[in-house]
């Protein structure tokens, strides 16, 4: 143990003398949390919607008034009246408007005659966010019109779905927070662990260790423990700052923070052990740099950090199953946003612990105690 502690102490002295490493490791994920969280979490405003009224009837006028009400209220779009469909479509193609609503001739008559009237929405489906938002708002408007008719005809009402939200409104920035914490842990594992390990190897510092009586297991344990301590520091700082920034209620609740610290520690140990297993026999300093870029994408996105795992295609879900990020993100989300206790995340903690232990044993077996 003395040897392990001596090597860990050396790493920590260096770590504390490199504040830039700490700042940049935390700043990157934090920036991502704020930018991505607020960029994806917002609602659309100020779109321009072309309206072509070929009907000029009472119901068409009601629809146009409702559209104007959206502009005045939620502000999702501003309705711009076009004289003919051709002009409106041209405006759509050149990007002056985001969609075209055509109220066809006979629209009012069809409503009154209950002949399933239709309104056409021509959308720019290159931008799926915009087109789905427009379609959603318009469906509400038209459904409103339709319901007036339904009410008067006394048709049986459809099955109603009552939605009860279990938690207060969770903005996207909070949904993104657990993934960002895991990303900060991963970034420190790479910068403070893998890169530092490889730089020491290239500079010959490991050569100095190898001629001493330190054993192979002690060397691997020291690399793992020091890398994990750095990564836990990054993860903890990001948890605290991220919870405050994203507005998670009661961010400093001590029991929850201690539970989060446990998840962060197991995540750090799992990631750092896997990393050293991958690098145990690598001598090229470019490898961890390239691996960092690839793994960042490969581990972060399928993990449910930005989008639910259940929405992913099969092959990405397969990656999510073997991705330690998945279990860490789920455990942190359950703890931080759902307020559940350790019992709820025990399976995730077991997976993270097993990953760390197996990778440590394997890397100790693979690591060569020679040049």
């Amino acid at each position: 143990m003395r040897h392990v502690w001596a090597l860990v102490e050396r790493e920590l002295i260096r770590f504390l003398r490199a504040p830039l490493l700490i700042i940049f490791t935390i700043l990157g994920p934090l920036l991502q949390l704020v930018v991505l969280g607020y960029a994806f979490g917002g609602t659309l405003h100020g779109l321009r919607l072309a309206m072509v009224d070929e009907d000029h009837g009472v119901q068409a006028l009601r629809l146009r008034e409702r559209a104007q009400a959206v502009a005045a209220g939620a502000g999702t779009f501003e309705a711009v009246l076009y004289a003919d469909e051709a002009g409106a479509l041209k405006a759509l193609r050149i990007g002056k408007v985001s969609g075209v609503v055509v109220i066809p001739r006979g629209f009012t008559r069809r409503i009154l005659a209950r002949e399933a009237p239709q309104v056409a929405l021509v959308e720019n489906n290159v931008d799926r966010f915009v087109s789905s938002a427009l379609a959603g708002v318009l469906k509400e408007l038209v459904t409103g019109l339709d319901q007036v008719q339904v009410t008067t005809t006394r048709l049986p009402a459809g099955v109603a779905l009552a939605v009860v939200e279990l938690y207060p409104f969770v903005p996207y920035v909070q949904y993104l927070l657990p993934g960002t914490i895991v990303l900060a842990i991963f970034t420190m594992v790479m910068l403070g662990g893998a890169f530092a390990f490889m730089d020491d190897k290239v500079l010959g510092i490991h050569e100095g260790y190898l001629v001493t009586p330190v054993t192979r297991l002690e060397l691997v344990a020291a690399f793992d423990v020091s890398g994990a301590i750095k990564a836990v520091t990054a993860g903890t700082v990001l948890t605290l700052v991220g919870m405050v920034l994203s507005g998670v209620p009661a961010p400093l609740e001590p029991v929850r923070l201690l539970q989060a610290l446990l998840v962060i520690t197991l995540t750090a140990l799992a990631l750092v052990s896997v990393m050293f297993l991958l690098l145990a026999r690598v001598n090229d300093p470019m490898v961890p740099r390239i691996a960092s870029m690839l793994l960042n994408t490969l581990l972060f996105f399928p993990s449910g950090a930005v989008y639910p795992v259940e929405a992913l295609p099969g092959w990405l879900r397969a990656i999510a199953v073997v991705d330690p990020f998945t279990y860490a993100v789920r455990a942190l989300r359950t703890l931080l946003l759902q307020g559940a206790g350790l019992a709820a995340i025990t399976p995730d903690l077991l997976v993270l612990s097993a990953t760390g232990a197996v990778a440590l044993v394997l890397s100790a077996a693979v690591f060569r105690r020679s040049l």
Partner: protein
């Protein structure tokens, strides 16, 4: 010098793929000896040191260091040796004291003994004033002294130094030499060092092994190696217009043992430099032969190296190393 062997090397071979870096080298080093491995870059010196310090396993052969086999009893070897590698590998961000403390812990020096030991070592390498400065602020010579102190932190019986003065200015080199002599005298160390500096080998080593292309080509004391060459002086001379048969005239000069060279430049080995030189000047004047250049020197290790390897060490240092050549050849084949 004690007669017990500190190091015994028996037919060590080390291959890297097709390339043989060390090719069947055998020698022994007595306790208390300063033993030099001399040769150009790529000769196999560093690989041999790495085998002896357990960093690289041998492909064939055996070696015992401090009585322990370098493969089967590597832990015993590591406890007995101090290693100062070719590259300066102290942590630049840590202070001198922190570097020494780290290695004292890795060598299991008891906590209570560490402060006094480190203070003593700092004094020995004259770095007491710099003890709490990060290594990155030290000059090359000072950093080399940190490495030497680091290698001695557990009072090893045998110290390995791989090119300890490469890259240092002449003043720092001399300081390192003095330090090594002093340490050896005070601590009864056995020292093995590699170098491609002839003056370093000559000044420091009790015995020198000349290594070239992975093989041991000569091994003896510096004096004996120089004495193994004909003559004790070497006259290097070139003429503007040597007449036919001039080389025979040179061979007939008094005290001449051997004449090499052709055309206008010759190397004359002489048992008595001044006598040969006077006769040479007389003969040239009598024949009307003009000198282009003339120099006389005592036989040096460079001459020894040239004798055993067929080329000057300074020329060998300009060549790509054997390993580089092997790599270039391999690349050329593709």
């Amino acid at each position: 010098m004690s007669s017990a062997a500190a190091i015994e090397v028996e037919g060590i071979v080390r291959r890297f793929g097709d390339f043989t870096a060390v090719d069947g080298i055998r020698f022994s080093v007595a306790e208390g000896e300063i033993f030099g491995l001399l040769g150009p870059n790529g000769a196999g010196k560093s690989t041999l040191i790495r085998v002896l310090t357990t960093l690289v396993p041998p492909t064939a052969g055996t070696a015992r260091v401090a009585g322990c086999d370098v493969v089967r009893e590597a832990a015993g070897v590591r406890r007995a040796i101090g290693v100062i590698p070719q590259n300066m590998t102290s942590d630049r961000e840590l202070t001198v004291r922190e570097n020494l403390s780290l290695f004292a812990q890795l060598y299991d020096v008891p906590r209570r003994r560490r402060p006094a030991l480190i203070a003593e070592l700092l004094s020995a390498v004259q770095l007491t004033e710099w003890a709490d400065k990060p290594v990155k602020f030290l000059s090359g010579g000072m950093r080399r002294r940190v490495e030497i102190a680091r290698g001695l932190v557990h009072r090893p019986r045998i110290l390995f130094l791989d090119e300890p003065t490469t890259g240092l200015d002449p003043v720092s080199r001399t300081a390192v030499w003095q330090m090594l002599r002093q340490l050896k005298a005070e601590q009864d160390l056995t020292v093995v060092l590699t170098t491609h500096y002839l003056d370093e080998a000559d000044a420091l080593c009790d015995r020198i092994a000349i290594v070239d292309h992975g093989k041991l080509v000569a091994l003896d004391t510096p004096l004996a190696l120089k004495a193994s060459l004909p003559g004790d002086s070497l006259v290097e001379v070139s003429f503007a217009d040597p007449p036919p048969g001039w080389v025979e005239r040179l061979r007939a000069l008094p005290a001449v043992e051997r004449v090499t060279g052709e055309g206008r430049a010759f190397r004359i080995s002489s048992l008595d430099g001044p006598v040969t030189l006077r006769a040479l000047l007389g003969a040239a004047e009598a024949e009307g032969v003009h000198f282009e250049s003339l120099g006389v020197q005592h036989t040096s290790l460079d001459d020894v190296f040239a004798e055993y390897t067929g080329r000057q060490l300074r020329d060998a240092l300009q060549e790509p190393s054997a390993r580089e050549s092997a790599v270039m050849t391999a690349k050329g084949r593709h």
